[in-house]
Structures are given as C-alpha cells and as structure tokens.
Assembly symmetry: none
Homo-oligomer: 211 residues x 4
DNA sequence: TATGAATGAGGCTTCATTCAT
DNA sequence: AATGAATGAAGCCTCATTCAT
C-alpha cells in the first residue's frame, strides 16, 4: 500500500520544464488515446485488444487511460462518435444525392475501398496463428448501419429497386470486405469498385424483375 | 505436436457407471471438447471465450485439453475443418455437374448456408462487445481455392461467362460469409441462397455484357 | 493474452524430479498459506495485509493462492476455524473447571501472556509510521467471544459474582492486551498475570458488593 | 514538511458566492479535511479508507490534501491530537486535585470516555473486515506518560496505595481504550466510567493488601 | 492417457503522490 | 495556496500451459 514516489528524473537530464508531461495537454491526451485505440483495434481487432495494448501504443502511463475512459468499451464509443462526425457525412451525402443505383453503389464501394487503402492494411490478414480475422471496428459497424438506412432511403426515392434491403446491405458489406482484402493500390481499388458496382447493379435488375 | 485423436479407449473402460466400455470409445474426448467449444463459442463469442471456459464446459481435466489441441485457435480450426470436410466433396461434384450459372451458384450458396446453419452459430456474431470475426483456416482456404478452380472450369465449359474469375470467387466468398452471419433457420438459408444466387446471376450478366 | 510458457528450468539443474514443486502436496500448500497468513496478519494486521503479502511470505506462486482461497477473508475464516480447534479448548477447559474467580482469572491472563510471548512480539508495536496498531487477529476475536461465554458460564456456576459480563470481558481483554505489550520474558509474564489477576479479583469484589 | 495551518485567506477571498471573505478563513481547508476524514474513517474504518476517499468527501482537489497532511496516518494523528489537546489540561487538573482514589479514577475514565464519545466513532470498530486498531500518537503517548506521572504523584500524596505504578498506568490505559470501543451514548459512558472506576478501586485494595 | 495443482505472466484498476499551471 | 492531470507501483485475479503422478 505504500507507494514509492515515481521517478520523474529518468535518464535524460533534458527532460525538465516545458516539454515534459505538461507538454501534453488534456485534450491532446484524449486524442492520443483515441488514435492509439483506433490503430490497435484495427490491427488486432476490438475483441482481442486489451486496455494495456492501447496504453502501450501510447507514450502515456497506465493510469492515465483511466482519467479519460473507464474501459475499452468506452473508448469504442468515443471512436464511434468521432467517426460518425468525421468520415461518414460525406458518404451519406453522396449516397443521398445519388440519382441512380450506379451512383449509389459506386459511391459506396469507392469510399469503402479508398478507406481500406487509407487504413493501410487495417483490414488485411494478421500473421497471428496463420488465421485471418475480420473485425468490425466501430466505424465499420456504424457504416453498415448507415448503409442499411441509406438503402431504404434510396428505395423510397426509387433510386434502388424494392428488393430485400437487409440482405442487400449485408451482401454489399460482404462484397466490400472481401474484395478489400487484396487491394494493392489505387488501380485495384478502382477496378474492384467497378467490378462490385456492376455486379450488384446487374444483380439488382435481376432481383427486381422477380421481386 | 499436432493433435491426434486418441485411438484407444485406454485401460479404464469400466470407470463410468452404466454403459460399460461404450463410455470410453475412441476420440470421445476430442468430440466432447469440440462440442463444448462449439457451445461456448456460440454463447460468448470466440474472442471472449477462453480455453478454461471450454474445459469448464467439459467433464475433463485441464491437462486433457492439451492432449487434443494446442490452443483455442486449433479447436476453432477443427470446428471449421469439420464443416469443410463434410461439405466440400459433395459441393464440388454439384458444381462440376452444373449445366448453367444458376445451378452453379445455387449449389455453392446453398451448401454454404446449410453448413453454416448446421454449425449452429459458429459463425454468428456475439452480443455487443464480442464482435464479428472470420477465420480462414487451411480447410476454408482450400475451399476458396476450389471455388476458384471450379469457376475457371465453369467458364471454360461456358457455364459461367468470362469475367474476372479471381474477383468473382472473392465476391462469392464475401457474399457467402456475410450472409451466413445472420441465418436463423432453414427458411432464411433458402431465402439467402435465392437472394445471393439471383444477385450474382444478374451481376454476371451485367459484367459479361461489358467485359 | 498470449501467455509465454513459464520457465521451469531455472538456473539450477538439480531442481528436477522429486523435490520440485511436487514435493509440496496439496494439503501442505494449504497449510503453508495458512501459516503465512497467520504470521502476516499478526505482523501487520488483517486490514492492512494484502493477499500479495501473504503470497510473498510463501514459496508459492501468486496464482496458487487462488487454488485454495478466494480471498483474504476466506483465509481468515480458515484461520478462525483452525485456532478454534487447536488452541482454545484447553483454555476453555481450565476456565470451565475453575473453582473460584482467582483460578478463572489466572488461567485467562496466564494463557494470554504465554501466547503473547510465544507469538514473539506479534502484538508489539510496529515501526511503521511510529504508530502502534493493535489488530484483532482471528484467534483473538474468537477468544474474546469465548471469554464472554465463559464469564457467563462462570457467573451461572457462582464462580464469578454477577456483574456486568460484557464489560467484564471487555475490561479483561483491554487489560490483557495492554499489559502484553511490554512483556520481556516469562518472569514479566508471571508478574503481569499476578497483577492483573489480583486487580480484577479485587475489582470483582467491589463491583459485586454494589451491584 | 510538517503540515501547518494556512495563515492567510489568500488572494481570492471573493471566489465563493454569497459570504465574501468569510468563505476562505484561515485553516478552513484543514478543518474540511479533518471533518471529512473523521466521517470517512467512521464509515469505512481507518484501514480501509484511502486518501482518495477523504479527498472525495471534500470539495478540494487532490493536491490540496498534501498541503496539509503527508498521509492518512497524519490526519489520523491530527484527529487524535485534537482530542488530546482538548481533554488533557482539564483532566490533569482534576487528577491533581483528587482527594481519594475514587475521584482520581472517575476523573480519568470519565474524561476518557467523554472524549471518545465526542469523537463519534473515531475509536469504534468497523463492520466485519475492518478490524479494530489503536494508534498511540505522540499526543496519546504523552497522555499516558502524564497518567503515569499523576499516578506517582497520587501515590506520593497517599491518594493511591503504593502498587506497581507502571502496571497500573498500563492497566488503566488498556481498560480505557477497550471499554471506549463500544460506547453508544452518554449513558453508556457513565456506566463504563462507574464500572471501570469500581473495578480498579476494588483491585487497588486487593493489590495494596498484598504488596 | 488423464488428471488437476502449480506456475507466473499479464490483464485490469486504484492508489498515493508529484508538479506545471 | 489550489488545482487536477499524470504517473507508475502495486493490488487483485484469471489465464494458458506444464508436468508429476
């Protein structure tokens, strides 16, 4: 129970005043943790990640995490909120503005593959145990939910034919993830966008003529 | 080091009351573990489940687990392989016998969803924190490779139109896994099979007319 | 989550077979923990002691503790039970056999000071923060409860006069503890026994003649 | 490093709404902490209480605690000293003025129990796991030393019989602390005073007739 | 083979304490 | 002085895995 005073001196005498721990402001630290969490969740998946993993991806001390979040889940929530505010409005807008199914789909797949590329292999296989995991990070789950909504909206507007919206969203999601695994550059992203868009576009026609 | 099923019932077949030597038939323990693992993974999700959880769902001792599997991942693999082994041979035959794209696709998706259903939740998402994951075990990877071969074979036979075979296989795989996550009964499996088959069928038409 | 295998090889090649960890049997380990707990509780008091403190006073690994007890409190219970069975029956017998108040009291104080001496300063001041703590270890609490019972029994038998039994037990307890703090040898124990016995004996007379 | 009461109200006397400079009178924070500590110790026991608990029971910031006290123990000491300072001078006077042993003892025990009562549970045992403890802070030790002096003085004056003065002081101390643990109101304090006084009074007669 | 106790790494969280502001 | 975020030691406990029997 007797805590020893933490050793702040360290081994480098240049640490003092100004660029020490006070160089990191409160808001900065929150962002540092969020950034680390995003990366860690992307790399090893939310379920496999531990709070310690997040902390380790940070210059901060273990206890500092708990000044900002009570648990891994709470970080997750914050990430959701953040992404919801930052990434998705644009995609939503494009989808909502889509005048036809092709625009809707190419916006969707194009964004998805672009994001996958940006995340530099975030969705790619891990070496761990030679297994391939695919984790739904916060933004992904939120994105799926939005996709579902947008599909329903598009159907209501006549932009998409009236097919099974839930399955369509699921199908698009699966297509997107699987095709994003092997992306190796913008050219492939474009080709995959084209492929997926046409596949689903054609499929929609077939589904609509029957349903 | 690879887990091998025990071949003999050992020396204490009379240990359990009531059914004599049947109580210790070979590979029984392996099956006990697999059954427990399937249930535990289904109940709490693969990521959240621990080896201990699996053992606890078993009448066996902790050490016994390691006579059969090296890790949780290996059990999972075995669970997957079980499906693959049961499903693949028949699937291959049906695909090779397919006279048109619809038969090819419905055989593929139908088998896949049936297997997913049989495996009662092995693929299904877990509540909240236990997010979705997917593992490509060797057997599964082999299954995907087979799909690719079969697609090429079908194209050569004119059963499928000449599109990008690699992407088509990938697309079908993604569609299959994603749609299999939410299956809740045979009716849904049939509906998903129908949906996926028509989607890809229509898509193939669209892709073919351009490519 | 990936645990590395514990290093059992150590640095001494003579560790193997026979005198390794299997040299400690299950029951022995339970006793080892109990003995360590008794000492730790006596040294620093139950409330201040941690499970880690107990483990550290042991050659066992941290996790082993939890094979035997769920918590500090559970050890405490076990200690109570143990002491109840081992130490106190003799004292009880002597008190119950006491033919007069003097015998009752000298048995009580004599046992107490002997135990204090045996415990080699268990009740003595700690250097910690220059404060003196007096903790009621399990045996102490149980002993106090028994003292109360025995007093009532003795009053019923006419061995003790009918005074306030609760306060008498408390008074004897306080006297015992305080006098035991400065004991430096058997001679002092005897002198303190004599002093306390006569003090209370005389006091009883005075209390009885008024009450 | 010793905690000193702050002497000035500082520069921001107008900081709290409503009562101007009175809001920041000197030593106010020290008293706030002491009051919070008294309550927290009473509620959860000294051992279980943490500095954080005390701070949380306060409107003050964590760091402020350390402007006044170095540790939990120091707060406890201050709490004790408070009593001692309030009680000792009067007690001394009464003891020195005592014309007989009864007056001497009832003054001693009466003051002690009254103080214990005033301190509302500071000495009382906590539920279950938080066991009893007693601390002899410098002030308390000084009080005991004073008792010893007063006893010798009383013996010299013939007010107390010539018995072992050291042991008598110790006995009175132990009696006092132990009986003070269970006090629940003024009536009990009076009863305990009466009980202890008569017990020791009678005991003194017995000890004297032998010694 | 099966058993299950032992192991110790490591996850989670809270704590006492410091220190820039 | 007062603040309160940062720190990291250390408590608690569970886990995967080993190994003597």
């Amino acid at each position: 129970m007797e805590a020893k005073p933490p050793d702040h001196s360290g081994t480098d005498g240049a640490r003092r005043r100004g660029n020490g721990r006070r160089a990191r402001t409160k808001t900065q630290n929150r962002d540092i943790i969020l950034a680390a969490a995003r990366q860690v969740f992307a790399e090893m998946g939310f379920a496999a990640a531990t709070v310690r993993d997040v902390i380790r991806a940070t210059p901060l001390a273990a206890g500092t995490f708990y000044n900002y979040f009570k648990s891994k889940e709470e970080v997750y929530q914050a990430l959701r909120d953040e992404v919801a505010l930052a990434v998705r409005p644009g995609l939503r807008a494009r989808r909502r503005a889509a005048g036809n199914a092709g625009e809707f789909l190419s916006a969707t797949f194009g964004s998805f593959f672009a994001a996958a590329l940006d995340h530099g292999g975030s969705f790619a296989p891990r070496p761990a145990a030679a297994l391939r995991f695919r984790m739904d990070t916060p933004e992904v789950l939120a994105g799926i939910a939005e996709l579902k909504e947008d599909i329903e909206d598009a159907m209501a507007r006549g932009v998409l034919p009236p097919v099974d919206g839930g399955r369509l969203a699921t199908a698009i999601t699966g297509l997107g993830f699987e095709l994003s695994q092997d992306l190796n550059g913008p050219a492939e992203a474009a080709a995959s966008t084209d492929f997926a868009t046409r596949l689903v576009l054609g499929g929609l026609g077939a589904l609509a003529s029957k349903a």
